[in-house]
Symmetry: C2
Subunit: 249 residues, 2 copies
């Protein structure tokens, strides 16, 4: 049963879905009929089972009778941010999709010294709209309760303003030197929120890592193998899910 986000608070037993995109998907693409049920998540992250009671094709909307669904949230118990150096279009889109499936709350792309791509000022808005759309679709598909925010920083320095309770930087050199305890240690402490920063394919410049370290970002190794720039954030998010969402009986 598929899920849609609505931008309003659902506080009555009937609700009109008048968002054109959702209407089209529900009625035209999936050809749902009166009597069919779907899931809705409202702006307070509440999940509802919604039974279609009326479809108005002239007004392009549909009315549903909603019932609160009490199942446990699919959101991680802490806010997780990943900050990735800009990469090619398909990688950036791929990171956005996968990080959403894996539970990130915020996805930051930033420009750094060795970034493969640079976004010109006039394309940023359009790029972010596209990524936000990918995040929305992935969030619906993976049954999230919220759509991650996708933001862009034109300078690495601006990461400082985005700091969370715990801040990390995945540093290849740490991994090469056999650093194997910092990540485990950091997440052991159960911070309320956490961010990890990932360099471009060519790695961070030394002074960039130094800058991040000086500003409270702890260098962490992510195991002994060298991962591609887009793989490392997936590793990080999977580990957080394991640590906070799975447990030994």
């Amino acid at each position: 049963m598929e899920q849609y986000f609505v931008k309003k608070v659902i506080d009555q037993s009937k609700f009109v879905i008048d968002d054109l995109e959702s209407y089209k998907h529900i009625v035209k693409v999936l050809r749902h009929k009166v009597g069919d049920t779907i899931y809705l998540v409202d702006s307070t992250q509440t999940l509802f089972v919604a039974k279609i009671s009326e479809i108005d094709n002239d007004a392009s909307n549909l009315t549903v009778v909603v019932d609160k669904d009490e199942r446990t949230t699919t959101e991680m118990p802490l806010g997780v941010t990943i900050a990735c150096s800009l990469s090619k279009k398909d990688k950036v889109e791929w990171i956005t999709q996968k990080a959403t499936e894996l539970g990130a709350k915020k996805i930051i792309f930033f420009d750094s010294k060795y970034s493969i791509m640079h976004w010109k000022k006039n394309v940023v808005e359009k790029k972010l709209m596209r990524l936000q759309e990918i995040a929305k679709n992935a969030a619906q598909q993976s049954k999230r309760r919220l759509i991650p925010d996708v933001i862009y920083l034109d300078k690495l320095d601006k990461l400082i303003e985005e700091k969370e309770a715990t801040n990390l930087v995945a540093y290849e050199e740490s991994a090469k030197q056999g650093e194997i305890s910092q990540l485990a240690q950091a997440i052991q402490e159960e911070p309320t929120s956490i961010m990890c920063t990932f360099g471009p394919e060519g790695g961070f410049a030394f002074d960039e890592v130094e800058f991040l370290n000086q500003n409270g970002f702890l260098s962490v190794g992510l195991g002994p193998r060298i991962m591609r720039a887009e793989t490392a954030p997936m590793y990080f998010l999977s580990v957080l899910s394991y640590k906070y969402e799975l447990t030994v009986k």
Copy 2:
């Protein structure tokens, strides 16, 4: 410094790289000169620093002076197999690349009831050669000591013959029912080898899961979010790396 696999045992201080592909990459693509150093991993998974002492362009080979490198292995301490239902070409290739970066020792693709793709008998060899090549390149790039085996099974039943010490099946319905302890429990027991089986986009058929369960594959949930077919194996491999390769001081 890049790494190449050689199919022989390196047991002398000089070694001739006569594999055409490696020769071309080292000499023609990266334009290495006499005096440059590269890494070699031989068929016993031993790592060597290799200094180029001679390049013979007529014979298309190069001679290196080797020195054993004592750094810790980049292989997981247990053999990890992922078995994934067949999917589209780009997904299958992507899984192979990422699973290699994340440390899998064996990658199985199998045909199942709801697989999106089916491989005809006459394409299997060519497909596997291509995937094995992707695995080799990813293994070199991520500095692995071995190239994972990529194999194909035309029936789900044949997974039984591939069983490892511990065998799991990632089952969406388990996750939906809030199953959160089986994976953690299974890897807590530190098996010598482990395999996890992943269904196609449309999920396993009920009787397929039942068959796997009856044959000793334990159903496990991988957290509360619904992951795409290609994301779940990455989650599994990342978690294993975290559990076995990282540690709290």
